[in-house]
Symmetry: C2
């Protein structure tokens, strides 16, 4: 691979529009959807902004690396679920928890006190019909103008992609899992 | 979109291989490459692991949100460059800084004292020939077995993708920039 020349002029035009809250979606089958949302939360917090993280598929007692670090920073991160769905014995209970969790998350989006609200892994309860898509779309459309919302998870509904400002597909090129290497503490959780 | 049924059995086989340090690559034209690396660093730090972040395209004095937050956590994050290349007047100087920065990063990878080393935006100096690709590949291959290394940036060289354990392409689906919305403090920096 012969080396390239670095650009010597600005490679893009500076946009002239107005700043406002963004709807940011991380979807796709690859790694980094939630992790990038955590990085975004970290950055916003570093700028002194109010951030709140809701996790639709984690239990309230989860103590992964991100929970410990956000706790040290004073960023609230809340598990709303009863764990990954294939571990649930009672799907009605999972559905009820997701619907209750969504009410709390919606309140945080609408109350205007947050710079950034993260709805981590919300696509799963959306896909299972546990959280009504129309209500999520309407909440995003009617939220206070400056509130950023970051939504993550595989299989994002097209209506949400259409509404979003910034959408990244995390595409799996390869994964250590496929080579037989198990998940590791500090990397996967 | 009709709702799906959640999986009721574990959707994958648990890998039986051995745990070891991973080479993780975030590439592609979309958002979230560096941000997911920061999230990974946050998670590892939350697990009490030693983390170090090198940024090849940021200046040592950068005070973005991530710098402020990592400083609060006590995670070293070091800008090695002189800013984005189209702002540099002296490309020889940029090349020299990148080569010096790489020597420091290599030392951190090889000294065995880190759980995770992040080489943020290293693909640019690789592509410009400022950091020798063969040396990076060799360093990754000969590093202590438990060290995780996360490399980010567009246009990752295929040799690095071949060597990596986990590769995610952050694919740009859409970006607020394209709709004329400028970068915002706390979101982009």
């Amino acid at each position: 691979m012969p080396p390239e020349s670095p650009p010597t002029t600005r490679p893009y035009e500076k946009p002239q529009g107005e700043r406002r809250g963004l709807v940011i979606v991380h979807t796709g089958d690859g790694k980094g959807k939630s992790t990038a949302a955590f990085g975004l939360a970290l950055r916003a917090h570093g700028r002194g902004k109010a951030v709140r993280i809701f996790q639709f598929m984690k239990v309230p007692t989860a103590r992964f690396g991100e929970h410990r670090a956000f706790e040290a920073l004073g960023v609230p991160i809340e598990g709303l679920g009863d764990g990954f769905s294939w571990k649930s014995r009672d799907l009605d209970h999972s559905a009820r928890l997701a619907a209750e969790g969504w009410r709390r998350a919606r309140e945080a989006i609408l109350d205007g006190r947050h710079f950034l609200v993260v709805l981590d892994e919300i696509t799963y309860p959306l896909r299972y019909g546990w959280v009504p898509l129309q209500e999520v779309l309407q909440t995003l459309q009617t939220r206070p103008r400056d509130v950023h919302v970051c939504l993550t998870g595989r299989g994002c509904p097209p209506e949400l992609i259409a509404l979003a400002d910034t959408v990244t597909e995390m595409r799996l090129v390869k994964h250590a899992f496929q080579a037989g290497i198990p998940a590791q503490r500090g990397i996967e959780d």
